[in-house]
């Protein structure tokens, strides 16, 4: 005869195949949270053992509803199906709680606690990297937007400098240090700019200092991302640069998602617009997305890029899986070796 066992927040139950209750263990309201969480694991807990002991010896074959190591499980089973029918009434009739209100308060607290624990566990290291990469992008676009205003503003005073210093970052750095016309090299003769007071000039400078600190923060984050990416993805970063690896990670959302992606997805990540245009039947399929940034692709001949992208993506998908499932595996070197050989063969 079979005995079906199921778990609920109020305790453990065993039923026979006809839904007749054979035995039960009812938790106490005070310790129910811990015992429920404990019993949810795949190990056989003391409560499980006790319930099995309570069963008649003839009911030697037990079937759990949740997975338990070394036991058969079946979902849903008759026991779970029976108790789930009216759990709040059962909670009252077994004396677990006084009334339905007390029961649902308990259920709310129990689930909130389990959920909080799971949320905590979901905050992994790779999530930090995802945000760091996005932050770099946002800082860059912000710095560029702010620089446009700075240039226009400063152009009133010394437009000639804008002609000689083209890079925003460099210009911001100069102005943050000293924006005075007479102190800057290359200052020859008459300037088209107006003659403003020190109080006016200091305003450009303060604004430039602000933008300069954005550039500095960006550089600091870039260094951080590189170190972090090498730690989190030791294998993938053997094949592509840490920056590119973290871009792919940021696009996927998490290392888990990246590890579970097919290589064809990795190949065209970042080229979604072209991909969907193709799926809608209005364009060629994209050969590469973000991975185009890898020198092995963008520095190769155009007619080889498709093949190279496929090879890189398939190698990467293996590397990301190594990184997600087993970081210690030092397969990155071997992968790199094989990948280089494949690329070499392509040429010949």
């Amino acid at each position: 005869m079979y005995a079906y066992i199921s778990l609920s927040p109020i305790g453990l139950f065993a039923h026979d195949a006809n839904g007749k209750q054979l035995a039960s263990i009812i938790f106490k309201l005070d310790d129910a949270k811990d015992r429920f969480i404990n019993a949810s694991s795949s190990n056989l807990t003391d409560d499980d053992k006790e319930l099995i002991k309570k069963l008649d010896k003839k009911d030697n074959k037990v079937i759990f509803e949740i997975q338990k190591d070394g036991y058969t499980s079946e979902f849903p089973n008759i026991s779970g199906d029976t108790i789930r029918n009216n759990l709040s009434k059962l909670a009252i009739s077994t004396g677990f709680v006084k009334d339905a209100g007390e029961y649902y308060t308990f259920i709310n607290e129990l689930n909130s606690e389990i959920t909080k624990t799971s949320i905590k566990a979901s905050s992994t290291e790779d999530r930090l990297l995802v945000h760091a990469v996005s932050t770099i992008d946002e800082l860059e676009s912000t710095a560029n937007t702010l620089s446009i205003r700075l240039k226009e503003w400063y152009g009133l005073y010394y437009p000639e400098l804008l002609e000689t210093v083209r890079s925003n970052e460099k210009l911001v750095f100069i102005l943050a240090n000293n924006p005075k016309r007479e102190d800057l090299s290359g200052n020859s003769g008459l300037s088209m700019g107006g003659d403003y007071s020190v109080a006016d000039i200091i305003q450009f400078q303060n604004y430039a200092i602000l933008i300069d600190s954005i550039y500095n923060q960006m550089k600091a984050l870039e260094t951080y991302v590189e170190t972090k990416a090498t730690q989190i993805m030791p294998n993938a970063t053997r094949i592509i640069s840490p920056t590119l690896a973290s871009r792919l990670l940021a696009d996927a959302g998490s290392l888990e998602k990246l590890a579970k992606m097919p290589s064809s997805t990795i190949q065209v990540m970042g080229a979604e617009k072209a991909l969907f245009r193709h799926i809608m039947g209005q364009g060629p399929s994209p050969k590469h997305g973000l991975i185009f940034q890898a020198p092995v692709i963008n520095q190769s001949k155009k007619n080889e890029r498709g093949k190279r992208s496929r090879m890189l993506a398939s190698t990467l998908s293996i590397a990301f899986r190594m990184d997600y499932f087993n970081k210690k595996l030092s397969g990155g070197d071997l992968l790199k070796e094989k990948f280089d050989k494949k690329i070499e063969n392509l040429k010949g």
Binding site: E65, R84, N85, S88, I107, N108, N111, I119
Partner: protein
């Protein structure tokens, strides 16, 4: 103001629910005060059930004291209105897969004790079955390719006899390139194997390429 559908009030063209937790807004919704009562206006652009009501939904199966299983509860926008309808004697088991969304839901659940937050995958009911019970209403809003299969499986396990099941189907998450009408017909056929379909709505401009079905288990 009329209460034509259980717990759902009508103000002109707007639908609203009587707030269980007055003066506490869940998603910056508009409110209306009538004497001591505060009504929360249901925003059809933010809630698919709200949109379905605007598109002529007549029966939700929800009632005061109902037990609800909500798959894909997210941060609790729609759930807050359902929470108003079922009231303190009802309960909503809210399953959500995204840790980020459920983080916001936890704050809502603290104020509204009838919402039970569960971080789990609706595709694997065995992972959360021991934490819930059978329900009167199943509501599902998840953008997954196999959303109909998930819906059917959960209904078979958790829906009480005679209970209603509602599903919002997003055509784009089943096939981006196909014609939504074809997808809706194909999903309807899948649902009809297990359910009698009571209402079949298109959410129109409120939620593009979405269909809404109300079903009852055969």
């Amino acid at each position: 103001m009329k209460d034509t559908i259980d717990g759902i009030y009508r103000f002109g063209k707007d639908f609203a629910t009587l707030s269980m937790v007055p003066r506490y807004k869940v998603y910056d919704e508009k409110t209306l005060n009538k004497g001591k009562d505060e009504y929360r206006i249901w925003d059809p652009k933010k809630s698919k059930l709200g949109a379905a009501l605007r598109m002529g939904l007549k029966e939700t199966g929800l009632f005061e004291g109902a037990k609800v299983l909500y798959l894909g509860i997210a941060s609790g926008t729609t759930a807050s209105h359902i929470s108003d309808i079922v009231g303190p004697r009802g309960v909503i088991y809210g399953v959500e897969f995204s840790p980020r969304s459920i983080r916001d839901l936890l704050y809502v659940a603290k104020r509204r004790q009838n919402i039970i937050p569960i971080l789990s995958d609706a595709r694997m009911p065995q992972k959360f079955a021991s934490r819930i019970e059978k329900v009167n209403v199943l509501y599902q809003d998840i953008a997954q390719k196999d959303q109909s299969a998930i819906f059917i499986r959960n209904a078979e396990i958790f829906l009480k006899k005679g209970g209603l099941a509602m599903i919002a189907i997003k055509a784009r998450s089943i096939d981006v390139s196909a014609n939504p009408k074809v997808i809706f017909a194909q999903e309807k056929k899948k649902l009809q194997e297990k359910f009698d379909i009571i209402s079949d709505l298109n959410l129109g401009h409120f939620e593009v390429d979405h269909a809404f079905f109300v079903c009852r288990l055969k």
